[in-house]
Amino acid sequence: MIQLSKVNKRYKTNSALENLSLEVKAGQIYALLGANGAGKTTTINLLLGFLEPTGGDVKLDGLSPYFNRRKISERVAYIPENVSLYPFLSGLENLEYFCDLAGIDQSKASLVEILSKCGLPSEFHGQKVSEYSKGMRQKVGIAIAYAKKAKVLLLDEPASGLDPAASNELTGILKQLAGEGATILMASHDLFRVRETADRIGILKHGSLVEELNAFEVSANNLEDMYLQYMKN
């Protein structure tokens, strides 16, 4: 579903990605680990079609995102680190608005159901987002992705700033979505959460993939040692 082969991305003189190749299949959760500036967000922006690769090939559902932004937006959902919603609207209204922009016609009842399914308690559906916690906003963000029935979910540091319970809940939701067939790529530097959530893990350093492994192959401790080792070298 997601295919990057020998992708390069340069900003003026700086190289953000160098020969990055990776593949994420349908139903799989792939986590990109890396320090700040490793190229995680650039990878997501390339997949969203906001950036044009300097070299190599980026494919999402067989399409090149940069040249098919409109079609890509039908297939992909995006959840940033900080889901910024309209503070003057309620969670339900935000969901309704974003669905409307995407051309999704959902009844109010089904939107309520989606919000509940994504873990937002029903008593908060009508409350203004300005009163939400970060985790609650994250859930609305996931609901937006869910309502869109996106084949691909791109998450940028989704667990950052969430408390352990909310973080754990997020893992559950993502696994559920993957179980329903969604392809998920998440960028993170939270080793523990990645180990818990992802099926496959890639470690990025200076824009290159230095390690790729299956999550079940490593314990959280091993993963941390491995990661720190790579960062040192």
Binding site: R70, S73, S84, L101
Partner: protein, 471 residues
């Protein structure tokens, strides 16, 4: 797009500060419109009352010598147009009273602003002040924060992933503010029309429609340019400062600078030079030909020839009346020459200011607002010309009566009956229909149109080609 607009409005209405600001703005516009209409009605009633009183004096002066009546004179009071309630234009600076008498063409005097200490640089708080100054700044702030807000709060990616193009997002923001501004404009104009005391003519409706078109275009220009700067300038302060600077430059700076430049290009004579030149031409003849004594001799010879007599005392008519009328007619020619030149210079000044609108669309809006409201320089000069045309008919009637009414030359004590004076109609000025004067305002419309096309094109071009995540 509609969804974006509605969402934007919902945002304003649900944000306490904005909600109060909008309510306050609509209320103040309603109040300003209401008081504006009342003020104009009150002032017009005073004008009508004064006109009537002056006419009553004329109709009750009793039997008089026609030449004495020419000095008794008449007065033209410049009426207010219905849309003066919207835009005062030059009303308060240009005076309203014109004395019409024999021998001399007076000036319109006794302006409101010459009758008190300084009150306000921008004039009384008429709807046009709010619509020209306050609404644009609100457009700047709302558009700017509408666009910058999406970027700063990191919603742009989320919105675009939903499939909406950046172009649509930006246009949606610009249009939502624009529609709001136009709604405020419409509310203002509807209140004006509803509180207007007289019947609403087709011309007034046309003028009101054109006001909507002019202001609506300007608002879209301001919105689009703000949108453009919000896209192009990544820093919050530089975009806002630039936009505010443009507002100041358009509103205050350029009109002043261009008016100074235009006055330097096309200077007007001083009052002294103007009156000296008129006096000179009148006594020595236009361009030094045909001085007054030669003119009088020629007139005398021709009159004596027509009546077949050898001296003016033998004429069956009052020769003095003919002399006065001939002098009047020559004076008219002199006035036409000098006032024509003055008018020409003022027209050149006005046209240059209109062309300056290609640099400053606010100038075009101001010119159109005053022009459509019938309160601009052209309307003022038109009144002066119409009053002068009346003066000529008025004085000729009196001179003819003096000459042919039954008196003889030198008989200054002869009096015409009151009925004769009552027959001379009073001066009634009617503001010309917009369709008759529309050609004056084409440069303003073209300038506004070009600015509109250019700003929309630039916004479309840059929003289509912009990289939303680099903003």
């Amino acid at each position: 797009m509609i969804r974006i607009i509605l969402n934007e409005w919902k945002g304003w209405l649900r944000t306490g500060q904005f909600r109060w600001l909008i309510i306050f703005l609509v209320l103040i516009l309603a109040a300003v419109s209401y008081f504006g209409v009342q003020d104009v009605a009150k002032r017009q009633a005073r004008i009508d009352g004064s006109k009537q009183e002056v006419r009553d004096q004329w109709e009750n002066m009793g039997a008089s010598n026609p030449h004495g009546a020419a000095h008794f004179g008449s007065y033209a009071f410049k009426p207010l147009t219905a849309l003066s309630a919207l835009d005062e234009g030059v009303n308060l600076t240009a005076g309203r009273v014109l004395r019409l008498e024999g021998h001399v063409q007076n000036e319109i005097v006794h302006s409101s602003q010459s009758q008190s200490v300084f009150i306000s640089y921008f004039g009384p708080l008429k709807a046009s002040i709010l619509l020209q100054i306050v609404i644009p700044i609100l457009i700047i702030f709302l558009t700017f924060y509408g666009i910058k807000g999406e970027h700063e709060q990191g919603r742009v990616r989320l919105l675009m992933v939903q499939g909406i193009s950046y172009f649509r997002l930006i246009f949606g923001k610009v249009i939502s503010v624009w529609v709001f501004a136009v709604l405020v404009l419409l509310i203002t104009l509807i209140i004006q029309l509803l509180t207007f005391n007289e019947s609403i003519s087709g011309d007034l409706l046309l003028r009101t429609g054109l006001i909507v078109l002019a202001y609506g275009s300007f608002y879209l220009i301001i919105g689009s340019i703000t949108g453009l700067f919000s896209l192009k300038w990544s820093g919050r302060s530089s975009a806002l400062t630039t936009m505010l600077a443009i507002w100041v430059v358009w509103l205050i700076f350029l009109p002043k600078i261009t008016s100074w430049f235009v006055q330097e290009q096309y200077p007007l004579p001083s009052r002294q030079e103007f009156t000296d030149a008129m006096r000179e031409d009148r006594s020595k003849g236009i361009d030094g030909h045909n001085p007054s004594d030669e003119r009088e001799k020629a007139l005398k010879d021709s009159v004596l020839k027509v009546y077949g007599v050898t001296s003016v005392d033998s004429l069956p008519i009052n020769y003095d009346g003919l002399v006065m009328q001939a002098d009047e007619e020559y004076g008219n020619k002199v006035w036409d020459k000098h006032f024509g030149a003055l008018f020409g210079v003022m027209q050149k000044q006005k046209t240059s200011m209109q062309y300056a609108g290609f640099l400053n669309p606010f100038g075009s809006l101001q010119s159109l607002s005053m022009g459509i409201s019938g309160t601009d320089q052209w309307s003022h000069l038109h009144f002066q010309q119409e009053a002068e045309a009346y003066r000529r008919v008025f004085i000729k009637a009196l001179n003819d009566e003096h000459a042919f009414g039954g008196s003889r030359t030198g008989d200054w004590g002869w009096k015409a009956e009151q009925e004769f004076f009552n027959q001379i109609e009073d001066f009634h000025y009617k503001t010309p229909l917009y369709s008759k004067v529309s050609s004056f305002y084409w440069p303003d419309w073209i300038s506004l149109g070009l600015w509109l096309i250019l700003s929309l094109f630039m916004l479309a071009f840059f929003s289509r080609n912009a990289n939303p995540i680099s903003q």
